[in-house]
Amino acid sequence: MKLDSMYQEVILDHYKHPHGRGLRDGDAEVHHVNPTCGDEITLRVKYDGTTVEDVSYEGQGCSISQASASVLNELLVGKDLSDAQQIQETFLELMQSKGRIEPDDAMEEVLEDAVAFAGVSKYPARVKCALLSWMAWKDATAQALGGADAERKTA
């Protein structure tokens, strides 16, 4: 069944048992919404130099958006900013691939659990759900570390 390609076990696990959920201290906070469906996230980032010390979040939304935020927390916390940015860009590339990218070993190494979202990229209406927290993180990071090129809402 095609649905299983979207709702991978990994995604449902993250949805039911989210990592790092809840708002904690941060250097910057952003609130992003997906106006087409009402998904919302409030996200804070905390940096220790160029190390992602914490990404905390609170929000409401579908399994895809919630699981994606959980995966983001798991992947980015503890990473150096440049590595985190590479992960973010790779995830963005995968999500914008319209299902045409079959993740290879190299991609899997970068994205870990996040490769499970490959199937979501086939559903245009759901790509924004998967990207909501990642765009919020990018925005919050820009604000925390200078803010000059802080981006506004994703959608």
């Binding site: 069944m1 095609k2 649905l3 979207m6 709702y7 449902l12 087409t36 469906c37 009402g38 998904d39 919302e40 409401q60 939304g61 579908c62 399994s63 895809i64 919630q66 559903y123 759901r126 759900c129």
Partner: protein, 418 residues
Amino acid sequence: MTQLPGLLDVEAIRKDFPILDRQVHDGQKLVYLDNAATSQKPRQVLDALSEYYERYNANVHRGVHVLAEEATALYEGARDKVAAFINAPSRDEVIFTKNASESLNLVANMLGWADEPYRVDAETEIVITEMEHHSNIVPWQLLAQRTGAKLKWFGLTDDGRLDLSNIDEIITEKTKIVSFVLVSNILGTVNPVEAIVRRAQEVGALVCIDASQAAPHMPLDVQALQADFVAFTGHKMCGPTGIGVLWGRQELLEDLPPFLGGGEMIETVSMHSSTYAPAPHKFEAGTPPIAQAVGLGAAIDYLNSIGMDKILAHEHALTEYAVRKLNEVPDLRIIGPTTAEDRGAAISFTLGDIHPHDVGQVLDEQGIAVRVGHHCARPVCLRYGIPATTRASFYLYSTPAEIDALVEGLEHVRNFFG
């Protein structure tokens, strides 16, 4: 097949709608339950559109050649059909727009630029309700921001109806306009027009009714409503997209200023100033949606051939059945009236804590098309403390079997996320 009293001969009707034979997702039969978003189009409307372009296409009101005259006759003929459909006292009260949103924006802008006694300004108040579609919220917010007028709201009761208990405090001598929805697109509620109109008339306020979810589903009589403006859209009533209607009382349309300027809406133009054509043309600047108006006329012919009272009875029977079946689904909570009384055929619900996006996705996989989200009525979601809903909405071609399919589909959703 389940037989309910009041049902139309759906088998015959469905033959008129080619799209209903479509299969989706590798052979799943399409179950289209997103009619509050847009209706499907019968062959009769599709034929009218292609016939217009194949035989009559020309610009209207501008030429002396055969095609221009025929196209004009068709376009104006569609206006006659709309006028008769809503029992308008005069065809000149029917303004074609591109959709209901444009119709409502037009009213807000007429009042914003009007002179006394219609003028909306900092001393006056605008009244809407918490169950409005964004298209009947944002134009009034814009008007309020631009004029300094105060925007007031009717709240909602827990069971999804308008709370009119404080109607005398909400609608006051300061109220210039009361704008509200006849049938809610998210709750399905049919609102008590008479009580609101009576109070508005007491204080001399104008009344604007958003009939987008009413015109497709029940007989609509603008004279019985006693409103000053009534807005609706064509694509929800078997017509094409790109055509909407604003009905307004003649003396108001004569008094109120135009909003959009351009060709067609003028009498004479000089470099110094212009004078305007009489209504409805005063409010139809530029080349109008001609084919779309013709298509709407064909849709009205189609609906009339079945009978709006029969369509209403059909949908009422389906709604009763759907409410009963949905109330049996574990963890399902209907947002809006939980009976079919004073209720249209759009039913919103939540299913446990499964997000509506996920509900809609799993239903789609089974060929069932519903709407998920806040349905352009976010204040309603906030009022009931929910992020979004899943909405199933029916029309003249919907069947009890499709409701059964929905209920089965929801069972599958619960298993999938359970």
